[in-house]
Symmetry: C2
Subunit: 350 residues, 2 copies
Amino acid sequence: MPNENQINKKISDSVNPDYYIKKGKLNNADEYADGIKKGDRSTLSRAITLIESTKNEYRELGQAILEKCYGLAGHSIRIGITGVPGVGKSTFIEKFGMHLIEQGKKVAVLAIDPSSSITKGSILGDKTRMETLAVHENAYVRPTPAAGILGGVAGKTREAILLCEASGFDIIIVETVGVGQSETSVKSMVDFFLLLMLAGAGDELQGIKRGIMETADMIVINKADGENIHNANRARLEYQQALSLFPPQPSEWKAPVKTASSLDNTGIREVWDVLKQYHNQVTQNGFFANNRKNQSVQWLHEAIGFQLKHQFYSRPNVKNNLDRLEKEILSGKISPPFAASELMNPSVQE
Amino acid sequence: MPNENQINKKISDSVNPDYYIKKGKLNNADEYADGIKKGDRSTLSRAITLIESTKNEYRELGQAILEKCYGLAGHSIRIGITGVPGVGKSTFIEKFGMHLIEQGKKVAVLAIDPSSSITKGSILGDKTRMETLAVHENAYVRPTPAAGILGGVAGKTREAILLCEASGFDIIIVETVGVGQSETSVKSMVDFFLLLMLAGAGDELQGIKRGIMETADMIVINKADGENIHNANRARLEYQQALSLFPPQPSEWKAPVKTASSLDNTGIREVWDVLKQYHNQVTQNGFFANNRKNQSVQWLHEAIGFQLKHQFYSRPNVKNNLDRLEKEILSGKISPPFAASELMNPSVQE
């Protein structure tokens, strides 16, 4: 049996563009795009890795692939699913994903895990947790370690969504841990935002970031099985009451609260029923198309901001001066906008 | 009696740096800084106007004034107050501000109103609404129209806070309408965030942005008077219950829900009591200082982002190409990151 290092090496190779480019297997964007359009999952994986890479030549190749696939993308329902560690996201997504496949859907799962990286075995771990789904021919499970493979960066989930869509997946699930900034940005790239919670506002809930609960399109009280059913039902009523106090969503959708159990396989079908209702309503009232449009424009301006900042913070002198200026701000010597102006000054930058 | 145009002209002159610079009254940053440190409110007003200006020479003068005042700033409690139009913010702030003055405090109110501009009489209106507070020698009321005076921009509230502090004000209230982006950013510049609400989740509440309620340090059900007292008390209990379902704040503070009436002058003193408790707790657990420090660093990076974008979007060719590229994105021709890269290309920029 191979040891963990050998397994990780193998997984790393399977998504490593260097490995394939050197072997002469895939050299240009057209070959990648063709493979993606044919539904080849390992080509899809490698293309996502290229886009996530910090190496310019890889990123440019990834970008070229994206452009060739862009016109084919967009024909899916994008679902964000968040919740604290321990809420049972992976098991829920496995059951939910399998239910969708039974309905004839092709399901892609993009998991954003800020705490993982490939060397820590996270990709292995996630694949193992969704073992039925991960190996199904109509599914694709892709963890996106925030620290990244090959020094890649997070924040390429939108690109990954588009590539999955071009590859024929019609349900895209973006899984994220509800403890950081990620779930706010996930809301800006999905059509439907589902929050998984547990009954009993104990320690397990401490991780969820404030301001998230109000933005959910649905809350599911998970692990509603065994002795927990009573508590889960009480929590459902309490959260439903709390949500009713919130102002309406721009979609005019009233977020329902339901219970579910991956153990008993209950409540899973109901989530899909709710999602279909939602999709009906927001397609009819125009919110779906309008929201997608706004998200695209928002993405453009985020990409501009990201690229401007990336260029700026890459300059060595900016990095060095930043430390000094931060200290001067905190000691009350100079104000933040003055420090910013000083960094903008070409003589400081070069 | 002067007509509205004459009144607006007079108010506009009183904050117009052109008017004063031409008259030779205030020419350099030292003069402004001296006036501010002495507590002269019209000098303070003009300095804030300089900072808000889009004219480079004014902004640079404003920046120079800020640097001279920066070391003196920081010694206040900064309170954000938000709520939808009609919730009674101005009247509440007037009563609350007068109570603080009775406690020996000097109170500055910075009102951010995205819908107003000086020509629509908003400054006049706001001053009229807080008529007792606005004319008190220990208070300063400053509306910041988003559209701006002299083509000024919003987003200079942090600078205005610092100038007010340098001028000796020890309570700074930032008032904002809870309908846009502004209340999220206000949270990032204050020590304590108070949300005013009304009993009965009717039409009046529709304006509040989702995700705001969870971030409040205190909710006050306003207009708890007359026949409304019963409803206000019921709303208080409901919101208190809803807040208890939320995860804890980073400050470890449990946000209380109270009722108040500006008409009966009830609940006003209690807000100050809660604020003192909060200040005690977060000073002791270190959150206060830590939060201020994080806010300063965040401000630096926001200022960098703002200045980078300002430079970028000011280029005429970026403006022109932006429209075309947005259309191409929405028609599915190119992806947002590709459009961003194209705009970054120097040949497109020049």
